[in-house]
């Protein structure tokens, strides 16, 4: 591709073109449409003047897959920024900012988007389209109009109050999925996140309700108890695996059931529970010194509050990324996941890795109940959310165990849950969302496997061609 300008100037030209065109078109068209066209123009400028720096910039796959994916992503980034900015600013300014971000993004993406990553995005898009198609088919066959259903869901799901709920539920899902993903990265299937977080939340709530401590310390003690309990319960499975050779899949499933039994045993008015309202028993409510205040949702026009512990989830995500990619432990963990025998041969203590990563997974699982416990309900009762561990497995699969991917998957999942709530009013079973979610998981694992295979073959061809070229040059 041609590259006639120095890179910073190219970026500036792309962003400038996007902003100018958006502002001009805004007078004639709807703002989002103007923004989209502006970003497309910026992308064209980027193609002409910035060029791509990846190794396979001239190949067919780059033209056929990477460039379109970069374009779509840039438009989405621009639109999202514009929409968010629109909540505070007047429309022309907001969308100009959107165009600025989208234009810069289009230059950056076109320049640097790696083929593998672009393929991953394409796979997600294909699986999403397939899952939506199957959902539409199910709706159609059962006598419901798919298009109006989707429109209803989008409409309801994007209302400010719904968005706050999406973020709050997404936070819980995110923690659960990260807990699962820690295990997945070294081929450990921690199916027991479900039992771990319920037991952890119950005991943490009981401890938190039993004492009143100064604010700060109180929350810390509760969270530490939860982390310890979660880690302990998962540690049993890890210990059984290394000492007795029990598959963690079976043992964590059994531990889930046993955790249900233990919580039922403890959540009894003779033991840890007190009467809460009618027909409900729970642990003694935590005093206000142990609450985590919410973030008011007023800035996006919502009356509800975002869980304060959403920040904790962000921190966990960053920590997960750092642990995996910037520490020796993370390196050994990934190495063990790729090949346990090779890792063992190169001096990794695989048994220790199994126990430690299982415990870490359980510690994160212990956090799953915390946003709900400290941010909203303040006690563990019979109606505490259940089944989050299994949702976490699905979300970790959707997000490909990547901290950012999981975040997107968690928000998407909770968006589907929230937006389907409206359907009950229309007499459509809201479980259609579950169908979409599960189909999405299945299609995405299949599509990703295909892309993975195809990408590897493509890489081999690429290497083969390079080698051939060298041989020609040498002779």
């Amino acid at each position: 591709m041609t590259k006639s300008l120095p890179t910073p100037a190219g970026f500036a030209a792309a962003a400038g073109a996007g902003v100018v065109l958006t502002v001009l078109l805004d007078m004639a068209l709807l703002a989002p449409a103007a923004l989209a066209i502006g970003v497309v123009a910026a992308f064209a400028v980027a193609v002409l003047f910035v060029g791509s720096s990846t190794a396979d910039a001239d190949s067919g796959i780059h033209r056929a897959v990477v460039a379109p994916v970069a374009l779509v992503l840039a438009v989405l980034v621009g639109l999202f920024t514009g929409l968010v900015a629109d909540l505070w600013l007047i429309e022309p300014v907001a969308y100009a900012i959107g165009a600025l971000v989208g234009g810069t993004a289009s230059a950056a993406l076109y320049r640097g988007l790696a083929t593998q990553l672009a393929l991953a995005f394409a796979a997600v898009a294909a699986a999403g389209a397939l899952a939506l198609g199957i959902t539409a088919l199910v709706l159609y066959v059962t006598g419901v109009d798919p298009l109006s259903t989707f429109a209803r869901m989008t409409d309801y799901g994007t209302q400010p109050n719904s968005l706050v709920t999406v973020v709050n539920t997404g936070t819980t899902y995110y923690l659960s999925a990260v807990a699962v993903a820690v295990g997945f990265r070294m081929n450990l299937f921690n199916i027991g996140v479900d039992g771990q977080y319920r037991l952890a939340a119950l005991l943490a709530a009981a401890v938190g309700g039993a004492f009143v401590l100064p604010p700060g310390l109180h929350q810390l003690v509760i969270i530490l108890v939860a982390v310890a309990v979660g880690g302990f319960w998962a540690g049993i499975a890890g210990w059984l695996k290394v000492t007795r050779g029990v598959s963690e899949v079976i043992s964590t499933i059994m531990l889930n059931a046993i955790a249900t039994g233990v919580t039922a045993y403890l959540l009894n008015t003779n033991r840890l529970a007190v009467e809460i309202g009618t027909n409900n028993i729970g642990t003694r409510p935590i005093a206000e010194s142990g609450w985590v205040p919410g973030i008011p949702g007023g800035f996006m026009g919502a009356g509800r509050e975002i869980f304060g512990l959403t920040l904790l989830a962000v921190a966990v995500g960053v920590g997960y990324w750092w642990l995996l990619n910037r520490t020796r432990f993370g390196f050994e963990l990934r190495a063990t996941g790729q090949s346990a025998t090779a890792a063992q041969a190169s001096g990794v203590n695989v048994k220790k890795m199994v126990v430690v990563s299982m415990v870490i997974s359980g510690m994160v699982a212990g956090l799953v109940g915390m946003p709900q416990l400290l941010g909203a309900s303040h006690y563990y009762a019979l109606d505490f959310p259940v089944g989050l561990g299994f949702t976490g497995i699905a979300i970790a699969l959707l997000g490909r165990n990547h901290p950012v991917g999981i975040a997107a998957a968690a928000l998407f999942w909770s968006f589907l849950n929230q937006s389907s709530q409206i359907l009950d009013i229309d007499g459509i079973p809201k479980e259609i969302a579950v169908v979409t979610q599960a189909t999405m998981v299945l299609t995405i694992v299949v599509v990703y496997e295909l892309v993975h295979r195809w990408g590897r073959r493509y890489q081999q061809r690429q290497v083969g061609r390079e080698l051939g070229r060298e041989r020609v040059a040498a002779s």
Binding site: N187, I258, G261, A394, E431, V434, T439
Partner: protein, 421 residues
């Protein structure tokens, strides 16, 4: 994520003959345990331990677990881990209930339930065999899908009907029950005398020969049938070779994909049959969550049975028995089992001592003593924990026995035609 982390547990070649479960050893072991059970019944007075009702309940609880386990056996013998059994059972319960409810004929329900399970198996086979997706990932996805999709369909089809709802179906027709005539009349009085061993045997015979559902009989017969097909026919040999070494099988001209597909489809069908049993024999309506994790326990029973039909049936019977006790005799009957476990541990201690393992013998003896003390000091076990005694038993059994077990060599590996992975 195509393979499990196998933590290297140093596996010595087992010494010849010792630990090999010949049929005679199994039978004598079973008889010994039964005699011990009869003794415990006499000591504790918990007649629910061996009466005919408990035997029937044991069968009712063991069949779904056994069917799931057989399903797991078929799949794993061909090299495919099937954790989606739970979801396939759910498909079986719903499809069976749907067909039986709309036609009024239980047999239509049976066929539809099996077909529902087979469809789940097909999904799993397409994902794992054709597309090489990780087996556990695919299974988990199927479990999620089955629950959501069946609830969606229940709202559409069962909710509008009287007695139906989002989580349950209207009442379903039942299967005919069969039994030997006169046995209950002849042996019933004997059972009521509560004599040591005599009454227990009478209870066992009465339980096994009266009022048995036809589906139970079919399910029981499927165990020897599986053994015959998988171990005594060329078809079975080829199928198992795909689970041991697909490369070798391929080199001998076996169509590995075909056998893997057949195995997973049969696996789904068996799970579906277990589902039909739950909805239409063990109860008379479909309910959401009816499977209650029995698919997973079936897998555990299969591992407990060392990937063999006979062992699997024993495992299913054990889990069925603990289930039956906690339903029929509640905490007190399970409480009596503490004594039985103690007796078994004493036997283990003697055996270890004879083999020269003093420490292991002492540990077993100490645990046995603790159990006896626990039994003597309490009257019953907490209800909430008793409900989950099968799960605790599974965990304990697996922790104690896994190292002596041997899974098919290539299980869980995603295999592609023409080598590579």
């Amino acid at each position: 994520m195509s393979q499990h982390v196998e933590v290297a547990t140093p596996e010595k070649a087992p010494p010849p003959r010792r630990g090999v479960l010949t049929p005679w050893r199994i039978v004598s072991l079973g008889v010994a345990v039964f005699v011990a059970l009869a003794g415990v019944r006499v000591i504790t007075g918990q007649n629910a331990l061996t009466d005919s009702g408990t035997i029937q309940a044991t069968l009712a609880f063991a069949v779904p677990i056994g069917m799931a386990g057989l399903g797991g056996l078929w799949a794993e013998r061909a090299g495919i881990i099937n954790i989606g059994l739970e979801g396939m059972m759910v498909l079986g319960t719903w499809a069976g209930a749907f067909a039986a409810n709309s036609t009024g004929n239980p047999w239509a329900g049976l066929v539809a339930g099996i077909v529902g399970g087979v469809l789940g198996g097909l999904l799993h086979a397409v994902a794992t065999v054709t597309f090489g997706v990780d087996h556990i990932v695919s299974g988990v996805a199927i479990n999620i899908l089955a629950v959501g999709a069946m609830r969606y369909l229940s709202i559409l089809y069962f909710q509008p009907q009287p007695g139906g709802g989002a989580a349950q179906s209207p009442p379903l027709p039942g299967f005919p029950r069969i039994g030997l005539p006169f046995v209950a009349d002849l042996l019933g009085p004997l059972e009521d005398r509560h004599w040591f061993l005599v009454s227990d045997v009478a209870g066992l015979i009465v339980g096994l020969t009266t009022e048995m559902s036809v589906v139970t009989l079919i399910a029981i017969l499927l165990v020897p049938a599986t053994y015959y097909i998988l171990w005594r026919t060329p078809f079975g040999l080829r199928l198992r070779s795909c689970g041991e070494s697909p490369e070798a099988a391929e080199s001998l001209g076996v169509s590995v994909y075909f056998y893997k597909y057949v195995a997973v489809l049969v696996s789904g069908g068996l799970a579906g049959l277990g589902g039909v049993f739950l909805a239409m024999v063990a109860s008379s309506i479909y309910q959401e969550g009816q499977t209650g994790g029995r698919g997973y326990i079936g897998l555990a029973a299969m591992i407990f049975g060392n990937w063999r039909p006979g062992g699997l049936a024993m495992g299913a019977g054990l889990f069925g028995f603990t289930d039956a006790l906690q339903v029929r005799g509640s905490g007190a009957a399970v409480h009596a089992l503490l004594l039985l476990i103690a007796a078994v541990l004493v036997a283990v201690a003697v055996w270890q001592f004879v083999r020269g393992k003093r420490v292991a013998a002492l540990v077993s003896l100490a645990v046995a003593a603790l159990l006896v003390v626990w039994w003597a000091l309490t009257d019953t076990l907490p209800r909430e924990l008793v409900t989950y005694s099968p799960h605790i038993a599974t965990l304990l059994v697996m922790a104690l026995a896994t190292q002596r077990l041997r899974a098919p060599a290539a299980v869980g590996r995603s295999w592609r035609r023409g080598g590579g992975s």
